[in-house]
Symmetry: C2
């Protein structure tokens, strides 16, 4: 869709005037960079431009807008949907030089940062102030906070603290034409007309480039409790979720479900883990709470698990008595390496109503067994959020990949599910978007895009079907 710019040399010279020649990378300086975390091969962008400030971002975008030049915002390139894979006619706008932590307000419990700060640094600075930035996921060391906001990242803490959207109080963004939108609200409550920051959260850089953020911090929990439990039926799993959520007040912080096949994989050699519970159960749940009074919280947690055992919704359980034990349970849950050992992985991140989940998994697994018997299937997820990860592995084969995608995505439509729970759409999932969004919704999205980026220079070909 993109075509070669009319006069790239003149545009690049103009950009060099704005950010300095050292910060307009071309040729080998671009090619020596990887295209991204989930993709292989060198970066193909026409240039990588590295502004040092919001003012420079604004000038760079204004110049590209004048030239009709497509621009791809670069964060930490840890996305999973190929949204930041730049083409040969695209300019990458990298925020890697915008890494300042501008302010921490321990009273208001906020942190004001530039968009290029890595997630992990934000978590660390929060903790140094006795506070918590609650969004967390595996790519924390590389992911930029700006990218995590642009993609409304999820992760392990959503059941307690919500998605990234729920941790953003305010932001500054730059529109395609260079207009700076300073929506740096710091309060939990602000109903002064439209909440314009919502336009830039989860829209994957297609409506503007996020340059600064006011993040909401929480009190750091004083302790954690965790258990691995086994449930005989899916109904028991959903009953357990309600029971634990109710019994623990507001303290439930994780509810991770593993189907039998996944549990066997991560507790059988060559996996590093040994099975804390026998491998014979249908469902395994890693349940966790975090609170303000560790001794009482532990007793309350044990009582809640005990009540679930008595009621028969849990048939076996191991309750952690040390941090090391808790970490070893999470290591099981996170040991997806074993899956990748068994061939080309096709990974999914879907969500659907809990009440429909058991039937959905049965249908998907049944279809995969019939249509793609050479592929193994693993199912696990953040059940508390309705978020399911399904991974199929087997011989590399593009047709198989597409066929497997059909098996997983098509049964979502009738159940009100989503083809992307937390990873976004990017390029990867674009063909499947119409399965879960109506034509009227898609038309409304295009209307927004047209209003904010009429020339379509921001992340073209991503997120929205043509």
């Amino acid at each position: 869709m993109n075509t070669a710019p009319a006069d790239p040399a003149s545009l690049l010279a103009r950009l060099a005037d704005i950010v300095g020649p050292a910060h307009v990378l071309t040729g080998d300086d671009v090619r020596s960079r990887a295209v991204g975390w989930a993709d292989h091969g060198p970066c193909q962008a026409l240039a990588i431009v590295r502004p040092a400030s919001t003012g420079e971002v604004s000038q760079v975008l204004a110049a590209c807008h004048d030239a009709g030049q497509p621009v791809v915002p670069f964060g930490g390139l840890t996305g999973l949907v190929r949204g930041a894979v730049a083409g040969a006619y695209e300019i990458a706008l990298s925020l890697e030089r915008m890494q300042r932590i501008e302010a921490v307000d321990p009273v208001g419990r906020t942190m004001t940062v530039e968009a290029g700060v890595p997630l992990q640094r934000i978590q660390e600075v929060a903790e140094q102030n006795g506070l918590l930035y609650p969004v967390d996921f595996g790519a924390r060391g590389s992911a930029h906070i700006g990218g995590s906001v642009a993609t409304n990242a999820g992760g392990n803490g959503v059941i307690r603290y919500g998605m990234t959207r729920d941790s953003v109080l305010g932001l500054e963004a730059v529109l395609a034409d260079g207009t700076i939108i300073p929506a740096l609200n710091q309060m939990l409550k602000n109903n002064a007309a439209y909440d314009v920051k919502q336009l830039f959260i989860g829209t994957e850089g297609t409506l503007g480039v996020v340059t600064r953020l006011v993040l909401r911090l929480r009190e750091l929990p004083r302790g954690n409790q965790a258990a691995l439990v086994a449930c005989p039926t899916f109904g028991d799993v959903t009953r357990l979720l309600k029971h634990m959520d109710s019994a623990l007040g507001g303290a439930l912080s994780a509810f991770e479900l593993m189907w039998n096949g996944f549990y066997r994989l991560v507790t059988t050699p060559p996996a590093r883990g040994t099975p804390p519970l026998s491998q014979e159960h249908e469902y395994y749940v890693l349940v966790e709470s975090s609170g303000g009074d560790p001794a009482r919280d532990q007793a309350q947690f044990e009582d809640a698990v005990g009540a679930a055992l008595e009621a028969g919704i849990v048939v076996d359980a191991v309750i952690c008595t040390s941090e090391a034990q808790r970490e070893s349970l999470w290591a099981l849950r996170d040991d997806v390496e074993g899956i990748f050992r068994s061939g080309m992985p096709v990974a999914f991140d879907v969500s659907l109503p809990l009440a429909a989940m058991e039937g959905y998994v049965a249908e998907v697994v049944g279809r995969l067994e019939r249509e793609w018997p050479a592929y193994r299937r693993f199912v696990f997820g953040h059940l508390g959020d309705g978020n399911l990860h399904i991974i199929a592995t087997g011989p590399p084969d593009a047709a198989a990949r597409h066929g497997i995608e059909r098996c997983v995505y098509e049964p979502l439509a009738a159940r009100g599910g989503s083809v992307s729970a937390e990873h976004g759409i990017g390029r990867e999932k674009l063909p499947w978007l119409p399965l879960c969004r109506s034509p009227a919704e898609l038309a409304l999205m295009r209307k927004l895009k047209q209003a904010l980026d009429p020339k379509g220079i921001l992340n073209p070909g991503r997120v929205l079907p043509d």
Copy 2:
């Protein structure tokens, strides 16, 4: 701004064809209705049109759009910013016939409803299912859920459960031209392209009419704990907030601050309440938690208050040991009648960063004392949310009202505060909006308005300055 429609009779006939003649009210049937809860006098609308379904809402809007006819969506008319005060050339679109509760999903913990259902009915149906719809405020019996979403209502539970925005998973809305947007998501996680429902939350009916909702429900707490405590300084109040939030894990559910003057008023005859604590302290906080294990929660709550006493950030406290006691504390906090007895009230609903609040209140009170000495001042608020209510009372006088507004609003600008924390903008606060929103933000809002309602028929003259 509105002018008389070219041919009202023909438009009303067309609307009668859509909704039935009995549901196009005119003349005395309109005039016999009140203009709203906070305003006096009869409704002035050209007509009140009462569709029975989303399809009819769509047809009504399409007809009005064709005719360039201004439309004011009517919910329960309990708003506080004159947003739904309809003019003589405006048609009121009332959702009072759309009162169906369509589904309750106890597993996914959602409720799907039409927009005209009163808030209280939703709370009751949730409770009948062992669940909680956590948004709550005084007008619950009359307020429509659709209106509460359109205004992103706050209330007493925000510190624990967030604003209304945080309890809306999906919605259906109708655009100005009649297009139906079916964004009825049911999941906590859904990153499949733009989250278009955000456009209709808190935009006060200016971008579309909310017709149906998927609400997020929570587990019903099994018990509450409450205390009234006295703090010597504002710094102690903010330290107490952090301390209680941290010590109670996720269970803190209210943190309501009363300044000395407010506390004296509600604990001195003719007020009904007697002072549970002496009237000599600077600050009084009603603090509350709700959790899953009442006996343990009570012990934890008492320990947390005890630790605050020991640390000296609290100097006196009464901890409730019964539900009746807890209710009597809330009755104090909610006894604003006494304020209204002392003359024309000018009431404010502002928010600002906690760190700036003490200086702000000192400045506002100082200005009011100097400039409007005949007016009494009362200050209280949902401190946990940065939300302050200030009420000045005295002789009715339009110039005084405007002057008092200046005293309260102007000092917000330099502190990053908001002229509306939870009530919205409507008509009432429109002149003050530019104090807390930049020209770039306002221009972006207008761009959205232009994209979604190019003829400007939805709630004209509200929310956005011309």
